[in-house]
């Protein structure tokens, strides 16, 4: 009887495993023909005028609610709308239509990939990775799926695999999306020239698409900014604003340049506009720091309080960890012990070099510099030329009593970009002497 039970148990386990694999990865005959079910007469996504495109799709789907292709395209369009407007309601709508598409056609490539990019936007990197892999299984020759899994792998700190995914994406179909990722990979490896070249390629593949043009311009600007080239950076940010009026990322980045040039008033105006558009924690923090530097303590405190509010909302919305808010608390010496706990949790969610760096900094500010050192080394293991990470490293070396090494790191940071941080560049200057 025991043998029978054992064999039942083993059989059940094997059956379950087989069912899981089959159900998940394979299942069914050849590719489902979804091609003719196109809605609103456009074969692919167009982001010249996303609002109009969305309206057409909505109208077409109103008449034909089970058009899988239309639902998938609308899901993508909603995500693009969210990028353009910053309105998170579009993420909810995207998830809704994509969910419906997948219920109608569980192996639909567009909907699967689109859910992957949605998961990325919501910081569910493991889920995004699974979706990207599933999409890749559905079509190994579609480039976009490698972008989804590659992005997830980057945030999970698995860089070798991520770069391989980006290489494959660019091999299958060079495009704005591929070039932008190649550029990021090169930047992570410290190849400034290569990163700029790839981002310029991305720019020329973004012609006619306002948000994409603005995005690539801002990325180019940030590359220049990272090397202290303020003029070149400002030019790119202004181009971004010309391509896409009110692009908050350009306004925020331009505010940094203006602050570096000593024009605090302008910087505050720009940053305020960014905050009004999309109150990202890093924008609000930057605004607070600018106001404090300008001497307006009351306004700065109000911004810091707003970050508390945003943190509460994130928690209420189910986001328990956030790298940016952890960094804010650590930078502003607010509840350092709690901030360390948040940083640890955030790192578990996002074990990228940014996660390593924030954790290192949090540990250092809590006085645990020996532990911080190993994390800081991890954050620099790719050879990234990042002044802020250099500064953190220098501070850790200083904390460990290694003054010479510390000064080297501070100098390196300032040589890269003398204005790398409103809060910490002055500190670096002092400590570098």
């Amino acid at each position: 009887m025991t043998r029978i039970r054992l064999s039942i148990a083993v059989g059940a386990a094997a059956l379950t495993a087989a069912a899981l694999l089959l159900g998940g990865a394979l299942g069914g005959p050849g590719p489902k023909a979804a091609a003719p079910g196109l809605a609103a007469g456009v074969t692919d996504f167009r982001s010249t005028n996303t609002g109009a495109y969305v309206a057409r799709l909505q109208e077409a789907l109103g008449q034909r609610p089970d058009d899988v292709r239309g639902l998938g395209l609308l899901g993508l369009a909603y995500q693009q709308r969210a990028r353009e407007t910053g309105d998170p309601a579009y993420y909810t709508k995207s998830r809704g239509v994509l969910g419906r598409a997948l219920r109608l056609a569980p192996r639909d490539l567009i909907a699967t990939g689109a859910l992957g990019s949605l998961a990325l936007s919501q910081h569910r990197f493991r889920e995004a990775l699974a979706l990207g892999r599933r999409a890749r299984l559905l079509s190994p020759t579609t480039a976009r799926t490698y972008g989804v899994s590659g992005d997830a792998l980057v945030e999970l700190g698995r860089y070798r695999e991520a770069f391989a995914a980006f290489d494959e994406m660019a091999r299958l179909r060079p495009s704005l999306a591929a070039y932008a990722r190649i550029s990021y990979a090169r930047e992570l490896r410290g190849d400034f020239g290569g990163a700029v070249a790839a981002m310029r390629l991305a720019q020329t593949a973004a012609i006619g698409e306002p948000e994409a043009l603005a995005w690539t311009a801002v990325q180019l600007g940030k590359l220049y900014w990272s090397r202290g080239r303020l003029g070149a950076a400002a030019r790119e940010y202004r181009d971004a604003l010309r391509a896409f009026r009110g692009y908050v990322y350009a306004e925020d980045a331009l505010a940094q340049v203006e602050a570096a040039r000593g024009r605090l008033r302008t910087a505050i105006t720009l940053e305020q506009r960014a905050v009004d558009g999309v109150p990202l924690p890093q924008f609000v923090a930057a605004l607070g720091d600018l106001q404090r530097t300008a001497g307006d303590e009351r306004a700065a405190r109000h911004q810091y309080a707003t970050i508390r509010v945003i943190q509460r909302l994130l928690v209420a919305n189910g986001v328990k960890t956030d790298l940016e808010t952890a960094l804010f608390d650590v930078d502003h010496t607010i509840g350092l012990r709690h901030a360390l706990a948040v940083a640890r949790r955030a790192h578990a969610e996002r074990p990228s070099i940014d996660g390593d760096d924030v954790l290192a900094w949090a540990l250092a500010r809590n006085g645990r510099c020996a532990e911080a050192l190993s994390w800081s080394k991890r954050s620099l293991r790719l050879g990234t030329q990042d002044a802020l990470k250099f500064f953190h490293r220098g501070a850790i070396e200083r904390c460990l009593g290694r003054a010479g090494a510390a000064r080297t790191w501070f100098t390196r940071a300032l040589e890269l970009n003398p204005h790398f941080s409103l809060l910490w560049a002055p500190v670096a200057r002092t400590w570098a002497r």
């Binding site: 456009v42 579609t142 179909r173 290569g194 310029r200 020329t204 006619g208 391509a243 578990a348």
Partner: protein, 448 residues
């Protein structure tokens, strides 16, 4: 005994904790705006996207062949300040296959340069270089040529027709060339056609459709080539298609910087109209765009087992039955040329090309041929080559409906002609609407 029990309990508890921690990431999370690098993932590549390829003997110059290739679908003339241009880092290609093997025998490559990386300040005029490759040898046949600017409006680009006409150039190999913004000559009730092949009025042969592309523009390259350069002397059929390439990149920059020649990857190609949109499944679109016609046998099943025919059977059983599988007629008309009757057969190699029989003379001035081409008795029209006035949507619908296998139905989308008449002379595609005018999408009245 007790220790063992406690140990087991501890193990159970620890594993529960471990699993619990491991599952933290799978909890639901609401959307936050991006705080990590969020590169665009879902934008397409309009400036590299082929929309149409035309090939016909020029009615006003019958000793020449005109090849027109369009890019940038649904180009909004009122796109300012983000005006469209050719992409300065892409390579635009026109291919001609003279011996039916699916490989190009003559190739023209076009490279464009703009004033800045993008036309932010309305500076949409570009200079370009044309390189011709034949018999393994490549030479530059035109350089420093100008495109006209985009038609922005009466103040920025006054007297646009003259501006555009001034940019017709001669190449060193005897061809005439034009590159720049044109009115989109494609006409279709795209909403009805792609929306599950709906047919607006009856069988669609009585008008009543909406030309969704009216008012939109494209960027076109037009070549007028002497006939003798493309005539193979035996069956006089030449296969034409068009493509776009972008530079290859990898994360690791190759050390071999000495050569500095760009490695190209094909990102788009087009021979017969509507193939990628209607026949090729979603999961193979990138592969289709990257592959060359000589390898098209891998896609033959999608021509032979027509999804469209299945759809027609489902949606319009009253007009059916439509043959769904083993559509040799579609395979031949789209992939090898028609052998019986002998129209434009190039041989057994299955390759997606526009096949033009150079021995058949033009039958009408540009824009005046029978819109149904061969199906309307006009042998100078599609699928023998493709003229601007050929109603490829209607022809394709009827072909899928089975007109070549004895099942003739007057199917169509109800849009019979372009909203704007074509020009009688090169480059034939008419001037685009200006950004100022901004009217898009035109309704067509019904007719008996």
């Amino acid at each position: 005994m007790r220790k063992l029990a406690l140990a087991l309990l501890a193990v159970a508890g620890a594993s529960a904790l471990a699993v619990g921690l491991a599952t933290r990431g799978s909890g639901p999370a609401a959307a936050t705006a991006s705080s990590h690098r969020e590169a665009p993932l879902i934008s397409e590549d309009p400036t590299a996207d082929n929309t149409d390829t035309y090939a016909f003997r020029s009615p006003d110059k019958p000793a020449t062949v005109t090849i027109i290739s369009n890019w940038i679908p649904a180009e909004d003339p009122a796109a300012g300040p983000n005006w469209y241009t050719f992409s300065p880092t892409a390579r635009y290609d026109i291919y001609a296959d003279k011996n039916g093997d699916g490989k190009p025998d003559v190739t023209w490559y076009f490279r464009f340069k703009t004033g800045g990386p993008t036309a932010f300040l309305g500076n949409t005029q570009q200079t370009y270089t044309v390189t011709r490759v034949e018999n393994g040898k490549s030479r530059v046949v035109g350089s420093g040529l100008l495109t006209p600017p985009d038609n922005i409006g009466p103040r920025s680009t006054p007297d646009y027709h003259a501006l555009a006409a001034a940019q017709v150039h001669q190449l060193d190999d005897g061809a005439t060339v034009f590159a720049g913004q044109r009115d989109d000559g494609f006409f279709a009730d795209v909403g009805a056609v792609f929306d599950l092949v709906a047919i607006r009025n009856g069988t669609g042969a009585t008008g009543g459709g909406k030309d969704f592309l009216a008012g939109y523009a494209v960027h076109a390259i037009a070549l007028q080539v002497p006939l003798t350069q493309l005539d193979n002397g035996s069956n006089h059929v030449v296969g034409i298609w068009s493509g776009t390439d972008r530079p290859k990149v990898t994360v690791a920059v190759k050390k071999n910087r000495v050569k500095k020649t760009t490695q190209w990857a094909q990102v788009s190609r087009l021979g017969n109209p509507l193939i990628n949109e209607l026949l090729i499944p979603t999961q193979l679109k990138d592969k289709w765009n990257a592959s060359t016609p000589d390898k098209d046998k891998q896609f033959m099943q999608y021509y032979s087992n027509s999804i469209l025919a299945q759809l027609l059977n489902k949606l319009y059983p009253q007009f059916g039955p439509f043959k769904e599988t083993d559509r040799q007629d579609l395979v031949s008309v789209l992939g090898t040329g028609l052998q019986t009757p002998n129209l434009n057969y190039t041989g057994p190699t299955f390759a997606d090309e526009i096949r033009l029989n150079l021995a058949i003379a033009p039958t009408a001035p540009v824009g005046n041929g029978n819109r149904l081409g061969v199906l309307g008795g006009d042998l100078a029209g599609y699928p023998n080559g493709r003229r601007l006035e050929d109603d490829v949507v209607d022809i394709s619908e009827r072909a899928v409906g089975g007109v070549l296998i004895g099942h003739s139905l007057p199917l169509g989308d109800g849009v019979d002609a372009n909203d704007v008449p074509f020009m009688a002379s090169f480059p034939y595609e008419s001037d685009p609407f200006s950004g100022f005018d901004n009217t898009k999408g035109k309704d067509y009245p019904t007719h008996p």
